[in-house]
Amino acid sequence: MPPAATTADIEALEALAQRLMGAFTRAGYERIVPAVIQPAGLFLDVIGESLRARTYVFTDPDGAELCLRPDLTVPTCRLHLDRYPAGNVPARYCYSGSAFRYQPAGADRAHPREFRQAGIESFAAADREQDDAAVLGLIVGALHEAGLDGLKLRIGDLGLFTALINALAMPERWRWRLKHQFWRPEAFRAELARLTSGAARATGMPREFIDRLDPADPGGAEVLVMEHLDKSGHELIGARTAAEIAQRLIAGAADMHEKPLPAETAALIESYVAVKAPAGSAVERLSRLARGHGVDLSAGLDAFQRRLDLIDKAGVAIAGAEFSAEFGRNLEYYTGFVFEVIAPALGPKSPVAGGGRYDGLLAEVGAPGHVPAVGASIHTERLLAALQGAAP
C-alpha cells in the first residue's frame, strides 16, 4: 500500500489477506511468520550477486550484512531446516507478509518497493506431479474464493528441458554447460554456437599443452601443470589446487578431440525452446518434434501429461492454459513445473500469482541433498486492484 492509502484500502487489503490465509490453513498449511530481516550472505549464496541489484542489502552496527527479504520462499526454507536439518520431513507452510524489492527505474504503484505476498510452500512430498497439482489447485481456488473471475494461466516445465538435453547424444560436460547457461538466453546461444562450430576447442587453452594431456591420467596432468608453473615462474596461489586446474585442462583437451555438436541437434534444441501451445496440445506438439529428430522424450512427457490430468481433477480448467517451453527461464531456482496466474484487468505484465517447483533450493540453503519442494504466492495488492477492476 502506498503511504497515502485510505483506511478503507488498508482494511480491504487486510480482509483479503485474511481470506487467502483462511483458504490455505483450511487446506492444512501451517501458518508461519518468517523474519523480515534476513542474513544477506544466505541470499547471496543462493541467488548470487545479482541479488544486490534488486534487494535492500545493508550493514548493521556490528558489521553483519543483512537484507530486507526479497521474497518469503528462502526464509520459509530456513525455518523448515531449523526444524528438520535434513529437510526431508513432509511439511506444508503458509504465510502473508511484506517483501521488498529495489526498483531501479523508481518505485510506483505498478512497481512497488514493498508489497504483500500471501503464499504456500510444500516440502518433501513424495509424489511430485500430485503436489504440483495440489499447489496450483489451492492457489486458483483461493483466488476464485476471493472473487477473481476469468483468470488465465501460463505454464511451463523446466524438467522437460533437462529431459531433452539428457536424451541428446553429447558428452556429459556439454549437457551440463547447456543446462547451466539455460537461464541466460544470450550466453546459452553463444554456448550452443561454440559447441556446434567446434570453437569450444580454442577457448582458454594453452596450445602447447593439449597434446601432452592424457584424459585417462589426471595425476600426470597435475604433474604437467606443476612443471609448467615452475618453468614459467608462476607460483600456485590461492585455494585452487593444481589438480583442479588440471581437471579443467583435461576437459578442454577432450573437447578438442570431440566432434562438434551436429547442427541438427542444435536446431532441435532451438525449436524446443521456441514451442508455445495450449497446454492441451503441448504434449502432442513436443512429442512430434522429438520423434522427428529420433529422440525419445516420453518419460518427461508422461509426467507432464499426468500432472495436467491431476490439475484437471483438482478443478482447474488447464487445457486452455498457455504452455511455453521457455517460461520460467528468468528464475534460476525453479527446476520443474512453473506457472503464473493472469487477471484480465491487469494483463500478463503484472501476474497476480506465480510459483513452481524448486527441488534444489533446500540443498542450497543447507539441506544435505535435494528435497522435493513446490510453492506459490499471490501478490495481494495486485489481487485487490484486480478485484476493484482498477489498473494497479
Partner: protein, 240 residues
C-alpha cells in the same frame, strides 16, 4: 545575487597535482581561498566560478546529485557511482592523465582460465569442490556486477576491498580481483594476469558536466568558456 558555477576538483594526491597542472596549462589559475586556505577556491578572471575541493569519489557524487555543475575525476569513479552515467552526466573530454584500466585479474597459475567464459565454468567446479562461491575482491562493486552480468558470469561473491586489492588472492582473502592497473606491473608482481576479454573500462580523468545541476544561460556560457580553454590546440587535452 547570481548563482555561481560550482567546479569540483580533487582535494589531494596525485590526481590533484595533475589536475592543477592541466588547469594551469589551460590558462586557468586556481587559488585556494577562505579560512585557512580550505576547501574553496576561485579561478583568476572567472569570478562566476566557485571551486570546491573534495575527494575524487565524492566528485562523482556531487555530479550525480547536482551539487556541482562541473567536475574533474576519473571515468571509473563516475561509472561506478552511476549505472546510467551517460544519461546523468556529459563527458566533456578526457584530460590525458589519471589513465588506468579497470580489469578482471586472476592468478597467473590458472592455466585453464583465459577468458570470462572460462571463469563461469571454473566457478561452478570451484563451488562443488570448496563448498562456496568464488570471491572477487574489488572496490568497484557496481562496475563488477554489471560487467560480469553482461559477460554471463554469475557464480561469484564480491568481497569489498578498499586497499591493496592486488594482494588478496595470495593472502587467501579472495580468488580473483577487479582493480585498476596502468602498466600491469603490480598485478604481475602479485602473481596475477588480466583475462583476454577482462578489460571493463579504459579510464582517464575527465571534465564532466552534471545533468542534475541547475543550469542558467549564464552558467551554460561559463561552461562553454571553460571547455574552450581545455580544448585549445596549445593544450594537451585530448578528446576521447
Amino acid at each position: 545575487m547570481n548563482a555561481k558555477l560550482i567546479l569540483a576538483l580533487p582535494s589531494k594526491g596525485r590526481l590533484m597535482e595533475q589536475c592543477n597542472a592541466a588547469l594551469a596549462k589551460a590558462g586557468l589559475a586556481v587559488t585556494r581561498s577562505g579560512p585557512a586556505r580550505g576547501y574553496k577556491g576561485e579561478i583568476d578572471g572567472l569570478p562566476g566560478v566557485e571551486v570546491n575541493f573534495v575527494s575524487s569519489s565524492e566528485i562523482a557524487q556531487f555530479l550525480k546529485t547536482g551539487a556541482a555543475h562541473l567536475g574533474i575525476t576519473g571515468e571509473d569513479l563516475i561509472r561506478e557511482v552511476m549505472a546510467d552515467a551517460d544519461e546523468r552526466v556529459r563527458f566533456l573530454g578526457g584530460l590525458g592523465f589519471g589513465r588506468a584500466d579497470v580489469v578482471v585479474a586472476v592468478p597467473a597459475c590458472w592455466l585453464d582460465v583465459r577468458r570470462m567464459a572460462d571463469l563461469e565454468q571454473m566457478s561452478v567446479l570451484f563451488r562443488r569442490v570448496h563448498g562456496r562461491r568464488v570471491r572477487v575482491a574489488t572496490k568497484y562493486m557496481n562496475l563488477t556486477r554489471r560487467f560480469f552480468a553482461q559477460m554471463g558470469v554469475t557464480g561469484y561473491r564480491i568481497v569489498e576491498s578498499l586497499g591493496a586489492t592486488e594482494g588478496t588472492p595470495a593472502a587467501g582473502l579472495a580468488e580473483l580481483i577487479v582493480d585498476i592497473t596502468t602498466t600491469g606491473a603490480t598485478l604481475r608482481a602479485n602473481g596475477l594476469k588480466v583475462l583476454d576479454d577482462g578489460v571493463i573500462l579504459r579510464s582517464q580523468a575527465n571534465l564532466v558536466a552534471s545533468g542534475a545541476a541547475v543550469w542558467t544561460p549564464e552558467l551554460a556560457a561559463l561552461e562553454t568558456q571553460i571547455t574552450a580553454r581545455f580544448n585549445r590546440p596549445a593544450s594537451n587535452a585530448s578528446n576521447r
